[in-house]
Chain length 357, copies 2
């Protein structure tokens, strides 16, 4: 299936996500070695065509740690120790504790915003990441070359990369993922408890309720770990949601139609404008930044791009043959090159920019 020249990856953890990463990588021509504490799961991955080989691969260029979030740090440390040159990343849903435990130039935290109602490696799909957002969380320690390579590989799987600080990531996913999940579960539980008194209730559940509670069908195990690891952000967002619902209750109880309309219209507009997967722009620009003599610039620049809403389609380190100075070359939408340039200048970088077309 693979040639001797294929780039090599390792996937640790043969579940839904690990299997999907492996299948997606193999579709791009990678040689993928898979492992799992449960050997039968790894074997199943081999049968399904996710893994070329089973076991460890000390020469893997990139190791993807796809184990439950509580074990990621240990697994990633082991991968870094066992492989003297490779990049190590993960796909855990909470990034702060993992990145704090792995302050290493070759580790870049990751979190693909993708999933499935299917379970286990049998539900894995090579196309799971197409059109999805894949968060990377570089830190001040991150090696720019490692970040750049990982960015390129993840993008090649069809994902759009955005970079955020680990702790900020955790606050944001508490809002758009963790608390929505807990809310869906709470609603579903409430409805089913009431339904014990009346079999009719759940038969009234039409499309909106089904949509809203769909995520509550997921297995609980992953959520226990997420709640443990991201406790403070989740509690904070739950408090905000409870506050919002209390305001909603007052608005309805007072029959305050103007106030209710204001909230509903604002929410409607936001929902309609929810960004969908970034399409490849027809019009691209290139922003070039001389690499400064300071650590952590890759994290600084890429998280700045995310804050500005600038999507980095490609990132590459070039090294001048004439001097010591390298250049970071980033491909972004032509419509945002000035915005990005302005932000970079404000942070004391010396960018240049031009359209590619």
């Amino acid at each position: 299936m693979s040639t001797v020249f294929a780039p090599r990856a390792a996937v640790v953890g043969a579940g839904l996500m690990g299997g999907s990463v492996a299948l997606a990588l193999r579709a791009q021509g990678w040689h993928v070695t898979g492992s799992d504490l449960d050997e039968s799961r790894a074997q199943r991955g081999h049968e399904l065509g996710a893994f070329d080989a089973l076991g460890a691969d000390d020469s893997a260029e990139i190791t993807f740690v796809c184990t439950p979030v509580l074990s990621v740090a240990d697994m990633a440390k082991a991968a870094l120790a066992g492989n003297p040159q490779g990049i190590v990343t993960d796909i855990g849903s909470v990034k702060g504790p993992i990145c704090a435990a792995l302050d290493h130039p070759r580790f870049v935290g990751g979190h693909p915003m993708a999933g499935s109602e299917l379970e286990g490696i049998d539900g894995a799909s090579a196309t799971m990441f197409e059109g999805r957002t894949w968060v990377l969380t570089p830190t001040a320690s991150t090696d720019p070359a490692a970040y750049s390579r990982l960015h390129g590989v993840v993008s090649s799987l069809g994902a759009t990369v955005i970079s955020i600080e680990p702790s900020r990531h955790d606050e944001l996913v508490a809002m758009v993922s963790h608390v929505p999940h807990l809310t869906a579960a709470t609603l579903m539980d409430l409805a089913s408890t009431s339904a014990n008194e009346n079999a009719t209730l759940l038969r009234l559940a039409a499309g909106g309720f089904r949509d809203m509670t769909r995520i509550a069908a997921g297995h609980s195990a992953i959520w226990l770990d997420i709640c443990t690891q991201n406790r403070s952000a989740i509690v904070s967002v739950l408090d905000q949601l409870i506050g919002g619902l209390e305001r909603m209750r007052t608005t309805v109880a007072d029959d305050d139609r103007a106030g209710l309309r204001k909230i509903l219209d604002r929410a409607r507009l936001a929902r309609i404008n929810l960004p969908i997967g970034a399409p490849p722009p027809e019009d691209l620009g290139e922003v070039r930044v001389p690499i400064p003599d300071r650590p952590g610039f890759i994290a600084e620049i890429t998280t700045l791009a995310s804050e500005l809403g600038v999507n980095i389609y490609d990132v590459e380190m070039t090294h001048s043959t004439e001097g010591d100075e390298g250049v970071l070359v980033m491909v972004v939408g032509a419509d945002v090159i000035d915005l990005f340039r302005g932000g970079l200048m404000a942070r004391k970088f010396r960018p240049t920019a031009n359209r590619l077309a």
Copy 2:
């Protein structure tokens, strides 16, 4: 398009739902006359093939009032007054106030649990009700023949009919529709407000968040009326939800993994078991009830069926040629005929039952 022998219906209100009712009826061979306070909307319905004719139809066998919920009672009263024999029904999302205002043998409240993200009559679809639940809310005043005929017609549009008391309907839809909508709007509003500080947030919104907030994209106008009409039930369910989220907050804050698992597993099981549209049973039974000499029996029997989880696929009134006594014949799943019979006997009816096969 229609023959002189086609049954005649009237649809008042040429919006998404009125248009869909009209299209679905026409697909079943009905002659449909449509009207709207805004004549251009009715005209559009004619262009789209929803209406055979425009205006009123004093000889319509059934008039469907499909106007905003606050105007249903007046429109239905006008339809009853203008048409000496026809059945009048509606599709409003709140039933208590409407049914209280329309204590009339020929009025049967209705609420199809269907909808669309599309808006207006241009979004109407002849298949909108296929596989959906259509609630009817007969009361003690309801004429059994009117109920039986409406049940049959609504079923012919592909919907499964369940019957509930008007006030109970309102409590149930507060739980499975109104509060979920307000919660989706609150979540979306919260996320978008936070997003003003960070453009990244909404780009992280993956499938679960999208599913959960989809209903918040709907127009606010209908929800203002719903909240006004169903205020007390909505406030009560919002209180229950806030209570549930407060318990969830405590569970997460205490890192009570056993408690969290219990809630999530219960919700997961309930979500997985959420009934989908009732498939036509391969095995049917018939329950026959001599029509008792007491008013309101049609509401009593059909809501008893709903409470027992018994789906009535067909209902018909037969009148003996030999005596005065008529019989109510109901087709239900063969597996529930004994259950239904037991319930009916407990309520002093005299049912007989047999399998159809």
